[in-house]
Symmetry: D2
């Protein structure tokens, strides 16, 4: 297992050039010396590259998982062997999960790197940790940010948080291209059924939904989109997808993929109205989009890895992927390393930014500074040998009088 972890780490590392390049450049000066970083991320081969990199830059690194189910044990073992304090294993109970998070906070991190907001929330509301001196944090997901914005509104944020999730080089690429691909990977592996010709219902048409819908169409599926936002619904309609309410889609869909970031999207009555053999799964952060509690209370047996057959009272068999939890992570390996390199470069640059600027920052949620965002994009293009144009004196905007101004 140790060796599997090692090989996986190396495979990921060799496909996360922009991150490893930054670390190589900074390594000498140990910019994170004396700093404790508390990570709460999905424990995957890609995350191991970030964690070991942070250690190479001088930090003390402690980590738990942002999800009780998804930890890859071989990676956790490998990280431990490299001197990372790691509190994570696969298939944790709720209390084990909670214990791991507490352990990370007990190590008194200066900066928190979170995925979903559980660790930052605990740092705010768990009495044991309310006196911790945290100088800042970052957040990887929309879900986490929703929680902080609500805390900010109530004036309850105790330190600045950089919304790594909102960096364009994270948001667009991780959410759209990353989830797009890893959803295909997860569903392929969970069900091994034909995508071509199937009616796939994609719930939500944000970045996730857009990516998932596009890739499903690319596999030959007939995509149906459900939405609550009229503008996004109109986009889906113009992109050539069928748009309808979930109550109607439930009756005709073959496969369902929730990616809304909301709760109660696929409800009991929708599940009861589905066709025999329908397959449902979720790729949103929390397992609250599908009423999996209802499904898992039926007559259930596992028919394939990460696939449960649930026989409803009406006799129909509905199949649930990875118990309604993030199917792209659990049923497959999550996003490919090239995508995680973008997210984690934003993470690394944001941590360094907090270190340098935290005294000037207020207890607010901040966007990733534009220059970091651009830098990550430029690094990536360079690493892929893609050249682009520069705005120069000859490339100007247009002035009101019809003449040019500098861009």
């Amino acid at each position: 297992m140790y060796d599997t972890g090692n090989l996986s780490y190396n495979w990921a590392k060799s496909h996360m050039q922009i991150l490893t390049h930054s670390i190589d450049v900074l390594k000498e000066s140990k910019p994170l010396k004396g700093i404790t970083l508390g990570f709460c991320l999905q424990i995957t081969k890609e995350t191991s590259v970030l964690l070991i990199g942070a250690k190479e830059l001088g930090a003390k690194v402690v980590a738990c998982s942002g999800n009780p189910l998804t930890t890859q044990d071989s990676i956790a073992a490998f990280l431990a062997s490299k001197g990372i304090e790691i509190f994570a294993w696969s298939n944790q109970t709720k209390s084990e999960y909670d214990w791991c998070q507490s352990k990370v906070l007990s190590c008194k991190p200066d900066i928190i790197i979170d995925d979903g907001g559980d660790l930052n929330t605990k740092a705010h509301f768990d009495r044991r940790f309310q006196s911790l001196k945290i100088i800042g944090a970052t957040e990887e997901t929309t879900t986490g940010l929703t929680r902080y914005y609500s805390m900010q509104k109530k004036g309850k944020l105790r330190y600045p948080i950089i919304a790594v999730n909102n960096a364009k080089t994270k948001m667009i690429f991780d959410n759209k291209y990353g989830t797009g691909q890893s959803t295909i990977a997860g569903y392929l592996r969970a069900m091994n059924l034909l995508f071509a010709s199937k009616r796939i219902v994609v719930c939500g048409y944000g970045w996730l939904g857009k990516g998932v819908a596009q890739k499903c169409a690319g596999m030959g599926s007939k995509v149906i989109v459900t939405e609550v936002d009229p503008i996004k619904a109109l986009e889906a309609h113009m992109d050539g997808f069928n748009v309808m309410p979930i109550s109607q889609a439930a009756k005709i869909g073959d496969v369902f993929i929730t990616c809304t970031g909301m709760r109660d999207v696929v409800q009991k009555q929708h599940l009861l109205s589905m066709k025999n053999g329908a397959i449902v799964g979720n790729v949103g952060h929390f397992d609250v989009e599908i009423d999996s509690k209802f499904l898992l209370n039926q007559v259930v047996r596992q028919v394939r890895p990460n696939l449960d057959e649930c026989v409803l009272s009406n006799g129909k068999k509905i199949y649930l992927i990875s118990k309604g939890r993030v199917a792209n992570l659990i049923a497959s390996e999550g996003h490919p390393p090239e995508i995680m390199a973008l997210s984690f470069s934003n993470q690394l640059y944001s941590v360094l930014y907090i270190l340098k600027n935290h005294k000037k920052m207020q207890n607010l949620v901040y966007d990733v500074p534009k220059q970091i965002d651009n830098q990550v994009a430029t690094d990536t293009l360079n690493s892929m040998n893609v050249k682009i144009d520069n705005l120069s004196k000859n490339r100007l905007h247009i002035k009101p009088d019809g003449k040019s101004v500098k861009a």
Copy 2:
């Protein structure tokens, strides 16, 4: 011609349901009674629906064109027959164009509806009109907004301007889907050559470029994208397009489409390095993206409607569509009416908003109010018989503590 105009008006009207529906609902109360509206838009069949609608709502309507070349004369004639004061005809000289704009301002409009910013600019900087009492304006294009933001920065705006262009229901749909289709239409008509297999260079990957690139790929072309923004360049790269500098693309492209909103994108040296037979055109607002001045100074003859053959000093023949001016409008009929219904509903609602709120507004550029944007999307979905879900008590966001909050 009168009759052609009439038929075209009716054809457009019957495909702009959301606009005509709003007008029908409001007609009784004549909300624009006593108001003079000064329009500076492309004079097309779709625009005629807005202009006549405004008149039906009680306004006095005066109009010129936002482009000296693109006026459809049959529409202008039809509008005149309907009591619109219209100062526009096709293929105007610069001074004719200027004269028309002056005529509109001479009618003392209360509100200006502009496309490109020429009329608003004249209202600000032409001495004859600086004492006009204008209560507000709207703007249809990115180009126009660039000009106003620059004026706003210098504190020179004399009245509030609503950035209709920035409404999502305008921006995304007009710029991406509208220009995407009308560019295909314009190039098809201008060149009648095979799209499949051709290397098409799309300069710029904003909404316009995204729409154009996608539709060209949909026609079977191999798309090359040029960009100056690293994030947009990375998006194009991940969308499967080849990204390279214009200097490199110039040598291998078969067809070029500029959609940047910048100037000097395709320069003399790029034109000289192109393959014999290359076809260049522009769908950005101004004719400054391609060095058409250089091209039109060569040995030139028209080989098809809206297509000029330019024989360069190196002996190569380069073909220029509609003299470098908006090819999608000039070589074809512009955006289809369903798209213009979105833009013009935003225009109408924004004009009504200004009328009601101008006293509370400052001399700034305003975004279209979110509720207008959503209303336009909802109206459109309804008109297309598309139903969507509602956020209800059962559809909630997720609270920090893992429980739900209302969306």
Copy 3:
């Protein structure tokens, strides 16, 4: 008009390199000297390149049109000015059309080049021409071939006919890529409505239907396919399109495109069940796919060029493109020249093949010889600067015993 014809001829010629290259190579030896060729093709700019080329190779060229409506008069005028005996003009009556065909046969052609089979049929069944000594013929369309196969079955063919239509380099490219694009062009011009989001019903999923469905999807439409062949229906289903009977599709489609080569595809009862505003058109060879006779017997007025509004007894308005005749040719310019170069190179090579081999040939329908088909593909790739691999000693097939054999 003469000049328009000349310019169009030159534009087409410069984009039909493989045809003009062959003609240039053969010109010296005048291989068609002393031969009269009777053409019955669509009179377009591309056809003019073939006709003038044939003359340059020494032939006497006489021509009429394969369709009473589609002749481009400026091309006909230009051809006449170049010494082609041309009997064609636009919008012919049935008797004018017949007269033109008779004139061509009166010139005693040695070889007939036909499109649709009208000229070959007349040469067989019109008593005046039954003694003509024709050494062979070629045919451009599926429709024509259906007629000859039926004649062959009854032993009635009087001379060999080469099925140019069946050459892969004609069939796949003309029917799929050519019609795919020209259908978009024709419908765009006839209706100027948004493709994105519309439900487009494509009747037939042969090469034509495949090309049309793919391009419509590329424009953002939701494509519905109707078929009578279960295998083709299954292909459409797996390609992600919705497959259903026409009776069901009629009720929900926004736009209809028939491309079956059959008759009575869209019948009176289907037209009556359509939504108000539905648009119907045909791109198959004959105008028998839609019951246009029924439509044109309603209250009809032309609302745009090539678009008739037909008000049915149930009050609904149905719009018919170019009276149910080939919309891609009539409402636009037909296939782009690059595609016609493929078809017409097959025509030219087949005419030369007949001249050399007619004594060995029987009165049957022949496929285009494989070497001609490959030559046309190779010529095209060369003209587009595309290099491919060669089968060499190192590239071998696999023998039964697991070792290699020459390919």
Copy 4:
């Protein structure tokens, strides 16, 4: 393992409705009673449905694998538990593989169902089995057929063989849609890298290549196609892909997928010219398309399941999927059951056809009778609830005189 096999069998069975439906209908009459069937297929969950079905129809069933590596052991164990004589396990040596095939022939099959041609070849050329009385055989692959056609040419076929591979409902769907999806599945699992933005070189543009190229493009990759056939190359070019020789593609590709059915496609010199980190794999039947012998003679270590890192003498690391053997089968689970239902229904119907007609058949390779092909398509559409139109008296072809004939 037994249980995994059982569950997999049931999962496959419930998604192969058309096959299980036929078996249910025929079961009573035991049409295969007294017959021994010798199967040589990939031992997967889908194959188990066919094998157990054949037994239910009365046959004695003996089976080995068509590939020494790909047997799924849990399926083999399950089949044994169900009374199938099965000679197959994963990762066989060449001599084990040979032994298994001999065991099947020793059971004196009346009919052989083969995949790749190894069993039929042995039945012809291994002296021990040359006196077997075999009444006919079927073949699943292009590769097998190539071998039989060569045998037929030399007059060496000893019994009729039905080319199940050539049925449209097998050829198009298995080769294009099946391999298209399973290749994505196999590569996703082997490499877990981003498809979007990568240059993927697809060698061959037959049904396999077309399917693979389309799905890769659907995943956002930039596809390069190599071909030796000019017509297929031209199709790829018109489909928007870049076409070039392998020597050129080798230098710029990120990922390579061979699907030619030829040998020596990716040779030593191509491998040496590849970029560091390039990934190569094969989805053609035999492992002779890539020079994997050369690669596996380098410094090799396994870095992921089914992925070997090969360090070349020039220092570059090239990664080989599943040792150059069918990546879609070995690195993933092969085609989804819906596709195999099509192939195996053709197999079952063809076996029944041989049984009934073998006395009238000659020792030739036969195509699957058209009525079987249509039946399989119709069964499939019915099972998916897709309705299509019928050719009726009202749907007629067009006669030479312009009137109608029955289709």
